[in-house]
Amino acid sequence: MSEPLLEMSGLTKHFPIMGGLIVKRQVAQVHAVDGVDLTVHAGESVGLVGESGCGKSTTGRLAARLLEPTAGTVRYRGRDIAHSSRRELKPIRPEIQMIFQDPYSSLNPRQTVGGIIRGPMEVNGIAPPGGRNARVRELLEIVGLNPEHYNRFPHEFSGGQRQRIGIARALALEPKLIIADEPVSALDVSIQAQVVNLLQALQRDLGIAFLFIAHDLAIVRHFSQRVAVMYLGKIVEVADRDSLYERPRHPYTHALLSAVPEADVTAEPRERIRLAGDVPSPIDPPSGCRFRTRCWKAQDRCATEEPPLVRLQGNRDGHLTACHFPEDPTSHGGNVILDPALQH
């Protein structure tokens, strides 16, 4: 594999919660991201999945250094940028771009599409050969928009087309890494596929690396070469795509996969796991293993000792799992029903 482009290690972000009637002071903190280790290699696509509130977006914003971490390091091409100043970050900003779920809120409604896409080039003083306008037209074409639409405004476009505008803007500076935070979650399925195919073509043809954040496990499987599963601020399992989807070891990965509704009516019955309750609050996460309050395998040790993210026996290189009592690599077709309403 190629050199690491982005290496996050021990990455932590706690958000203060302020309280107090007269004097505001910190009364608690949200453990949004708590010691995440994750690497993205050049040209590689890494998926980050997990349920809402588990810290995916925060991880993405830390990776893009839009947020400063509470602890840990973010190495970009070998250099730790965790606490770099704005000035120090300036030269690498163009190389790391973000795409968001809701392109509309990140597009200036009063600017033409051409202006929006030209913006980053102007800010960074980049003058492509042939001029900025020609480059904008070229970018519009790459993302599948009509270059004639240069002078239109964002509201004249559909959701899928706006996402393409956001992608064109991200491409304007020829990034090496794109952090895509739920880029297709707001789109209807028929449009979702158009945008996923576009992103895939960019990764393949332009060699751009992706940190692809989504809660949809099927889309992540489709898009990513490696996948990390997050739960309450921690990565609980990370592996190459096939290992993660075919031989998951963490009970939470099993639970997530078994909960995905599938449109296949001919498939044989699969493992069926129904967790009880919801994800606990990240303000006061459970001790030890954070998944233990919903885990059917939990024992005393899980409450006292945090399981390290390590390679388990029988797993491929790079397949790491954080669990004291992992599932058998070949276990499939089991039935675990923890939901009290469904237990009769």
């Binding site: 209807d188 399925v189 809660h215 496990l217 309403a341």
Partner: protein, 340 residues
């Protein structure tokens, strides 16, 4: 032949807006039997919610025009007086939405809200209503129902709040439950719990359910019959096995081949539907899907742009497309199947 429990015939809903008339639902017909679930799928704006608000009589007559027939257990609803519809709602027909906070008040305990709905329709005493509320909370799987009955909606997590709303919807044992994207805002593990809960309750009480969703996976796991909607019309209808297993309409093909799968080979490319859905003010003539359809040349473009295709055959697995049955079968087997 017995009349179906719910029967919708030729339903049309138009809205008069500043931009023109929105043809939100156009000539829709379907049936739902007791104890079964009809899944209505389609992308946003295809008329799913408008259809179901029409069943509940919730459209403002000043801004909408509704024609056709809706018969619930023998009662005609389209021209029914307001008072009759009010009696039906909550009692015979109940609805749950994507966002529970639209149907729960923040100012009253959940027990009081569930109890009031019960009292309104049954004339039960306060004590009976409270007991009923506890029973309902227990039924939908809320732990410590006896004490949680006094909590307010904001004290529940998203998934638990959805359960509270289901408890409230089911408190009078309705015969028909309309669930409009009930799990869209939930995480997958919680979505799976809620879907299982609905199936479980249906088995116990024989409720008819209309499940509106944009997720074909949810339909596959929870519905018996499916109606695929496009631009306010039904383009395909049949059992889950028929529609998802041997789909016949080009739009259904597009929906299915756009979806990434968890268990298909990873290198199967997604095949999107090109273009975007039409405006419902200017619905394309003929087959509303024709501007996005790759097969109209086979059917004859004059056909697709001419008269509007009707769902056929009339019963069972039907679709609204001018391709011949043999063409549909060949295209599905030769071009579509490999992408599913």
């Amino acid at each position: 032949m017995t009349t179906p429990f719910l029967s919708v015939r030729d339903l049309t809903v138009d809205f008069h807006t500043e931009d023109g008339v929105v043809h939100a639902v156009d000539g829709l017909s379907f049936d739902v039997e007791k104890g079964t679930t009809l899944g209505i799928v389609g992308e946003s704006g295809s008329g799913k919610s408008v259809t179901n608000l029409a069943i509940l009589g919730l459209h403002n007559p000043a801004h909408s025009r509704i024609t056709g027939e809706i018969t619930l257990d023998g009662d005609e609803l389209v021209r029914a007086p307001k008072s009759q519809l009010e009696r039906l709602r909550g009692n015979k027909v109940a609805m749950i939405f994507q966002d529970p906070l639209t149907s729960l008040s923040p100012y009253h305990s959940v027990g009081r809200q569930i109890g009031e709905t019960f009292r309104k329709h049954t004339g039960a005493s306060r004590k009976e209503a409270r007991d009923r509320a506890v029973e309902m909370l227990r039924r939908v799987g809320i732990p410590h129902a006896q004490t949680r009955v006094d909590d307010y909606p904001h004290q529940f997590s998203g998934g638990m709040r959805q359960r509270v709303m289901i408890a409230m919807a089911l408190v009078c044992d309705p015969d028909l439950l309309i669930a409009d994207e009930p799990t869209t805002a939930l995480d997958v593990t919680v979505q799976a719990q809620i879907i299982d809960l609905l199936k479980d309750l249906q088995q116990q009480f024989g409720t008819a359910i209309i499940l509106i969703t944009h997720d074909l996976g949810v339909v596959a796991g929870a519905a018996h019959e499916v109606l695929v909607m496009y631009a306010g019309r039904a383009v395909e209808r049949g059992t889950v096995r028929e529609v998802l297993g041997s789909p016949r309409h080009p739009y259904t093909w597009g929906l299915l081949s756009s979806m990434p799968r968890l268990h298909a080979p990873v290198d199967v490319p997604l095949v999107p539907v090109r273009g975007t859905p039409p405006s419902l003010i200017n619905v394309p003539p003929g087959c509303p899907f024709h501007p996005r359809c790759d097969f109209q040349a086979l059917a004859g473009p004059d056909m697709c742009r001419g008269e509007r295709p009707e769902l056929s055959p009339h019963r069972g697995h039907g679709d609204a497309c001018y391709l011949t049955p043999a063409q549909k079968q060949d295209i599905f087997i030769e071009q579509i199947k490999e992408h599913l």
